[in-house]
């Protein structure tokens, strides 16, 4: 049994400390918004926040995040998150949508750290989130738009 702080609530999960956080979230906390893509931290589909930092939950042992604030796509609620989600919809970013939870989590973390990112900043922060539909031009535009909304 491990106690995790997920989306602001304390949850007791029947998991071993070496289980990847992704499986604890999906199979035990039943939060399926975070996706399995590659299982080796190379695609970004499993991105969540731990104490505000974007991390790849598929390679993060759940034991290492006990006591820390874990935020998933279901619980991301900051002003930046709202701006990103709105911009994502206005600019019609998602196609198949499968990678988009991870994209949004990375974009929110970027804007919370850097409110006016350049294209280079965006490339660096988002480079580990791949999208096979290649919605990249719109991801870039949506991050700029969200930055503008946030002022």
């Amino acid at each position: 049994m491990l106690t995790l702080n997920i989306n602001g609530a304390s949850k007791e999960l029947d998991v071993t400390p070496d289980m990847p956080l992704l499986w604890a979230l999906r199979d035990h906390a039943l939060l399926t918004g975070t996706k399995y893509g590659c299982g080796m931290a190379q695609c970004g589909a499993c991105t969540v926040h731990v104490d505000g930092q974007p991390i790849r939950s598929c390679i993060t042992p759940v034991g290492s995040v006990a006591g820390k604030a874990i935020t998933t796509i279901e619980g991301v609620q900051s002003t930046a998150a709202k701006a990103v989600q709105d911009a994502w919809q206005t600019l019609n970013v998602p196609q198949c949508g499968y990678c988009q939870s991870g994209q949004i989590m990375s974009a929110v973390a970027l804007l919370e750290k850097n409110p006016k990112p350049t294209d280079v900043d965006i490339d660096q922060a988002m480079g580990g989130n791949i999208c096979r539909c290649a919605t990249y031009p719109r991801i870039r535009a949506a991050i700029h738009q969200a930055a503008k909304t946030l002022g």
Binding site: R26, L30, L31, T32, G33, T34, K35, Y36, G37, C38, G39, M40, Q42, C43, A45, T72, I73, E74, Q85, W88, Q89, N92, V93, P94, Q95, C96, G97, Y98, C99, Q100, S101, I104, D119, I122, D123, M126, G127, G128, N129, I130, C131, R132, C133, A134, T135, Y136, P137, R138, I139, R140
Partner: protein
């Protein structure tokens, strides 16, 4: 105010769910109690026979509930979609490295995975056949050769002032849908219910039924959305569904089979690699007089869809150019690899590449700009293709003219020439390439679709059709059609999951045809219901039926109007059926395979792109600096969706031709089995200047749904401009005298080799 009708750039129907993590994919479905998890055990050689199969350690592994081999299959053992050749599990013969031999179900995913590795298998291995040219030499084909043409190519080439020859190797492509292959099977009273990430629920349903030895009606398949398909889930989702269903019936428990990423990449087919060559004759101006083209697909171990894929490569080996005398040969080679399959463009891109290479080669030979050669050879109205289809509604001359202007092609050409003369190590290249892509399944019977609409008494509309949503925006477009027909806001139309028990015997969502086919079928269903309602109103209010119209969420008639909800209830009270199917089949298309003549395509979708690149001649590294695209979607049903398909298709095509390299070792084992070793484009690969526009004021000349055009595949091939621009930059090293060979993917290594070759040619 009309909300969400055809032509409006409204968001994807799942937009809110996509951004909030609530869009449900197969792997997200809450599982029934005691669901088992399945994993396949695979071969560790690429060719040979199994001499010993010891599964005792697998069976006794923790949590294991069932282990099955082909001997446990009571129904069909072969799941070849069109032709046989795809055993569900190995027959004892090994055809490729990673071929599934057995399947195990256990209480957890981890236990299944551990158990699958415990098999003791011995083989008598054989030397695998891995080289397409060797296969060609040995005449090892999975399907017969097909040939078509017009005029007398050989005589025309011999008589021509200039003869040219070229060859190319075109690499394959991993689909890399972010959501991998996955199926969930639940035993039911009569058979099995399958949730699968598939582009072809009906075929999957049939194959599951055949494997289980059940009638098709005992199997139901549901598909809400895929996390990407791109062709990789047209036929190759079926194996995992069949195995999950087999285990579900055996154990009478729900079974989920989700491939780990490395298995997904090793065990499923890819875009076909091709080896192509041309011999052509042209005049001194560069006009083609005759061409002989050979396209050879590397198909892997079985036919799968390779017959149609190589056909489509042949149908596109002319791309947009008139070949007055042509002889086109298409061959389908066997190799000991996974069975290569559908992938956006379906062979078309690989076929187009050979004629685009020829265009560049002619330009270097006659000393002209490649764009001039492309324009010189461009089709004109009423000319015929090598397979006998007449060119109609040919908008490419207009597209190219507009794009030359909007992209500043000629001014930039001069600037680049100047730059290349002065820059020492960095060279720039520019290319404009067109796309003419035939729309329709080349297998005629697939060009049909069905839809189902219910109207409930509160006026809400339930829409179902045979197409599948994989991100291309099919569902929202079809819903827009239905909203337009009924004159209601789109919110009134609920799009529901594709299910084989709602619309039967459907075609795969493929060949870019999803909206063309299902949009028309849904339109027909809506029109049937409108006619019934109009008749009901005419009788009730004693007005002419022609006076009834469906506008602004109302049904109006001579002297009155009712809300759509009131009308629905009225119709119900008058015992009018508020449910209808709709059906559509594409007219005019036919192809006589024996004669190699016909009209395989209802129409062509067209577009063109200008790409500018910069290469470092010391390292072979390069950047794409700017891309301008003008693409023809007829009258767009949804410009936001269409433009997204163009942007994404282009970038995906660019990945295919540049960074995405499939690597097999000498034993036939795939080495590029993860995103660490297989590089699809990332955000930093997006061209810094990327101007994408839709061609205006050109409704489709044929009667498609509201005169729109298909858009899923055609933009993929616009990326050929990047490859051609790379060749242009390299050619500058020989003062544009030499056309360097540049096989794909044009990785920096290949670019560097071409640079050295081009330099060596510089006197």
């Amino acid at each position: 105010m009309k909300q969400g009708h055809a032509g409006q750039a409204i968001p994807h129907d799942s937009a809110i769910r996509h951004v909030s993590g609530t869009a449900r994919y197969v792997d997200d479905i809450p599982l029934p109690l005691n669901t088992l998890h399945a994993m396949v055990g695979t071969s560790t050689c690429a060719a040979g026979h199994i001499t010993q199969l010891d599964l005792s350690a697998v069976k006794s592994s923790a949590g294991v509930k069932a282990v099955l081999t082909l001997d446990d299959v009571t129904g069909h053992k072969d799941i070849g979609p069109v032709f046989p050749g795809d055993p569900l599990l190995s027959t004892g013969e090994i055809l490729f490295y990673g071929q599934p031999i057995f399947v195990v179900a256990a209480d957890t995913y981890q236990n299944a995975r551990r158990a699958a590795r415990k098999a003791k298998i011995e083989y008598t291995p054989q030397t695998p056949l891995l080289d397409v040219k060797q296969a060609l030499h040995q005449q090892r084909f999975v399907r017969p050769t097909h040939i078509f043409g017009q005029g007398n190519a050989q005589a025309a080439i011999q008589a021509a002032p200039i003869q040219l020859h070229g060859e190319q190797y075109i690499g394959g492509q991993e689909h890399f849908y972010l959501e991998g292959q996955v199926s969930l099977a639940l035993p039911t009273e009569e058979g099995v219910m399958v949730y699968s990430s598939t582009q072809h629920p009906s075929e999957l349903q049939k194959l599951v039924a055949e494997v289980l030895h059940l009638p098709i009606h005992a199997v139901t398949v549901e598909m809400r959305r895929m996390g990407g398909g791109f062709g990789g889930k047209e036929t190759q989702a079926a194996q995992w569904a069949c195995l999950a269903a087999l285990l579900a019936l055996k154990t009478q428990q729900a079974v989920k089979l989700r491939l780990p990423r490395a298995d997904d990449m090793s065990l499923t087919g890819k875009r076909h690699p091709f080896w192509n060559q041309y011999t052509l004759g042209c005049d001194e101006e560069g006009k083609i007089l005759g061409a002989m083209i050979q396209v050879v697909g590397e198909c892997g171990y079985s036919p799968d869809l390779s017959d149609a894929i190589v056909d489509r490569a042949m149908f596109h080996s002319d791309n947009a150019y008139y070949l007055p005398n042509a002889h086109i040969v298409g061959q389908r080679c066997f190799t000991n690899t996974v069975s290569h399959t559908a992938f956006r463009g379906f062979g078309g891109p690989q076929g187009m590449m050979i004629i685009e290479q020829a265009m560049d080669d002619i330009a270097r030979r006659v000393g002209k700009d490649p764009l001039d050669i492309r324009k010189l050879n461009l089709y004109q109205e009423q000319q015929t293709t090598p397979y006998g289809q007449t060119i109609e509604y040919f908008v490419l001359p207009s597209i190219i003219e507009q794009l030359e202007y909007s992209s500043d092609y000629w001014q930039r050409r001069e600037g680049i020439k100047l730059f290349n003369q002065t820059a020492s190590h960095v060279k720039k290249g520019l290319a404009l390439t067109p796309v003419k892509f035939g729309i329709s399944f080349t297998a005629q019977h697939l060009n049909q679709a069905g839809a189902l609409i219910h109207i409930y008494t509160d006026g809400s509309i339930h829409l179902n059709h045979g197409g599948t949503e994989m991100g291309q925006g099919l569902n929202i477009k079809v819903a827009q059609v239905v909203a337009t027909e009924f004159g209601v806001d789109i919110e009134r139309v609920l799009i529901s999951a594709t299910r084989t028990d709602k619309v039967p015997n459907t075609s795969p969502t493929a060949a870019s045809s999803g909206t063309d086919l299902n949009g028309k079928a849904a339109q027909q269903a809506a029109q049937i219901l409108k006619a019934r309602i109009a008749e009901c109103i005419a009788t009730e209010y004693q007005v002419p039926v022609e006076s009834v119209e469906f506008v602004n969420n109302q049904v109006r008639y001579l002297g009155g109007a009712l809300s759509f909800a009131e009308v629905a209830n009225l119709a119900y009270l008058h015992r009018v059926s508020l449910s209808s199917t709709g059906y559509y089949k594409t007219p005019l298309i036919h192809y006589d395979r024996k004669a190699g003549k016909g009209r395989p395509f209802f129409y062509y979708a067209m577009g063109a792109a200008v790409s500018e690149v910069q290469i470092d001649t010391l390292t072979g590294e390069y950047k794409v600096l700017r891309v301008d695209i003008l693409h023809d979607v007829g009258t767009s049903l949804n410009p936001a969706v269409d433009q997204g398909q163009i942007e994404g298709g282009f970038i995906q095509g660019m990945g295919w031709l540049t960074t995405e390299e499939l690597m097999w070792n000498q034993e036939g084992r795939l080495l590029s089995t993860s995103p660490a070793t297989y590089k699809i484009p990332a955000i930093s690969d997006t061209p810094p200047v990327f101007n994408v526009a839709l061609l205006k004021d050109h409704p489709n000349g044929v009667a498609t749904i509201y005169h729109s055009k298909a858009v899923g595949e055609p933009p993929f091939m616009l990326a050929i401009s990047v490859w051609s621009a790379l060749r242009d930059a390299i050619s500058s090293l020989s003062h544009y005298k030499m056309s360097p060979r540049l096989d794909t993917p044009a990785t920096p290594e290949r670019v560097l080799r071409a640079v050295l070759e081009s330099r060596a040619h510089n006197p």
